[in-house]
Amino acid sequence: MLAPVRSLGFGGVRLVAELGRMAVFAGSVLRALLRPPPRLGRLVQEIYDTGFLSLAIVGGSGAAVGAVLGLQGYNTLVRFGAEESLGAVVGLSLIRELGPVLTGLLVTGRAGSAMAAEIASMLATQQLDGLRMMSIDPVHLVVAPKALAMFLVMPLLNALFIVTALGGGYAVGVSLLGLDGGTYFTSLESSVDFENDVAGSGIKSLAFGALVGLVATYRGYTATPNAAGVSAATTSTVVVASVSILILDYFITALWDVYP
């Protein structure tokens, strides 16, 4: 009868212990980032792998999401004679919520999983041990540039997602359904507030970037060093980072509303 309670207790202890280990790991990544020499070459390579190679999927997805929002928004608004508000509806949905969240989920699937798999695979093939034996800290050379790259590219990809989505909304609402282009942009401009909406979107995407970078590198670095471990690290990165993004999004939104 006590088994479920005991199991819940053990689960809670394991969760807290895991969070503690992750916090220690985050501390070692932060210290590595501050320690010379700066790994600029590695950082640029990681920005290319994480950011540049995600441009197509983020841009394409943004355009598709914007087009759907444009179509759905227009069909709903036209019932109330409020179709001139399409720019505001599309813009606010994207900038405040959909942009950072969907970008976070897309980048987790494309780049976060690859990041975890690469580190776990280096662990399984003893490349990280090889670095230690050469007196090179693998967190400094391999992990920290990856985590920092994720943190830096997430807001830029978020901006790309929003811009292409606004383009998608414009293409459907204006070019396809005949809404006036000036009305679309006037509605967008008058409803979006920089401090509340754009800055909030940027802060969310920075938080998501830090979160995905940390989860992906931690899961890769602590993987079981074999093929099954690489696979498990990849899967758990996508699951944990995706769910965490959704939960964190709620808290940031709630806090933003309380302390704007």
Partner: protein
């Protein structure tokens, strides 16, 4: 049988105990590795050969006991202090452990790039010298994925010695290689020992190579070590050692017979 401890041990393990869960790997392990000599660590799969090498390199900590490298106790050192000790050690990992994302030349030059403070052209010249020394002068621009298993081992050996270590640890350098590559790697290791006076500790279950190259053998059995020269171990009369060597001779004969009929 325990032969007399080497008079000038470069690496020593004393009263080492290590368990992974319920599995006891070492129980009061005592062994020493003489300076400037080739010692081959032997034993069946799971005997703890690779684990002992990892403990000497500070990658694994024993539950108890002492590991001394060049007179320095390493078991209590922090990771940053181990980096200093590891400057004396080069390690050849079983799969090479070359970084996939770097070219062969970048892999070999990485320790110099990180620690030596040399200009790029001096590093390039040193890398080329090391590639020449392992008989692979033209592969600097290739990626590790473009090399064969034997070539990867030789490049990994070039990287292990590029900072002129005193001690080189080799984890199963012959496993999975054809006889020609086994002899190549073996000759390279012997040459390193003879020309540079390096202390080589080689974990291997390749009995023939071990008897050809070893000055000293450490045979790991049930968590403890039996040590001596190859001749001493062969004449030891220890049934467990004899059984291991006999099984190897039988396997060798079977392989030769199978190759003869193929």
């Amino acid at each position: 049988m325990h032969a007399a401890a080497p008079s000038d041990p470069h690496v020593e393990a004393r009263d080492v105990g290590l368990s992974f869960g319920n599995r006891v790997v070492f129980q009061d392990l005592d062994c020493a590795f003489p300076r400037g000599r080739i010692t081959v660590l032997m034993g069946g799969s799971g005997a703890g050969k690779s684990t002992l090498l990892r403990m000497i390199g500070g990658l694994e900590r024993p539950d108890r006991g002492s590991i001394r490298v060049a007179g320095e106790e390493i078991t209590g050192l922090r990771e940053s202090e181990l980096f200093r000790v590891r400057q004396r050690i080069g390690m050849l990992f079983q799969g090479g452990a070359l970084l996939d994302s770097l070219s062969v030349a970048e892999n070999v030059g990485l320790p110099l790039h990180e620690h030596a403070g040399l200009p790029a052209d001096a590093i390039a010249a040193e890398v080329q010298r090391r590639l020449d020394s392992v008989g692979l002068p033209d592969v600097g621009d290739l990626l590790p994925s473009q090399l064969s298993g034997g070539m990867v081992r030789r490049i990994a050996l070039a990287r292990a010695i590029v900072r002129d270590p005193e001690i080189v640890l080799c984890d199963e350098p012959f496993s999975g290689l054809d006889p020609l590559n086994v002899r190549r790697i073996e000759a390279l290791l012997v040459r390193l020992n003879q020309r540079l006076g390096l202390t080589l500790i080689v974990a291997s279950h390749h009995v023939t190579s071990a008897f050809r190259m070893a000055h000293h053998l450490v045979f790991l059995l049930q968590g403890a070590a039996i040590t001596g020269t190859p001749e001493e171990l062969e004449a030891s009369g220890d049934p467990r050692v004899e059984q291991f060597f006999a099984a190897d001779r039988e396997a060798e004969a079977e392989v030769q017979a199978w190759e003869g009929t193929g």
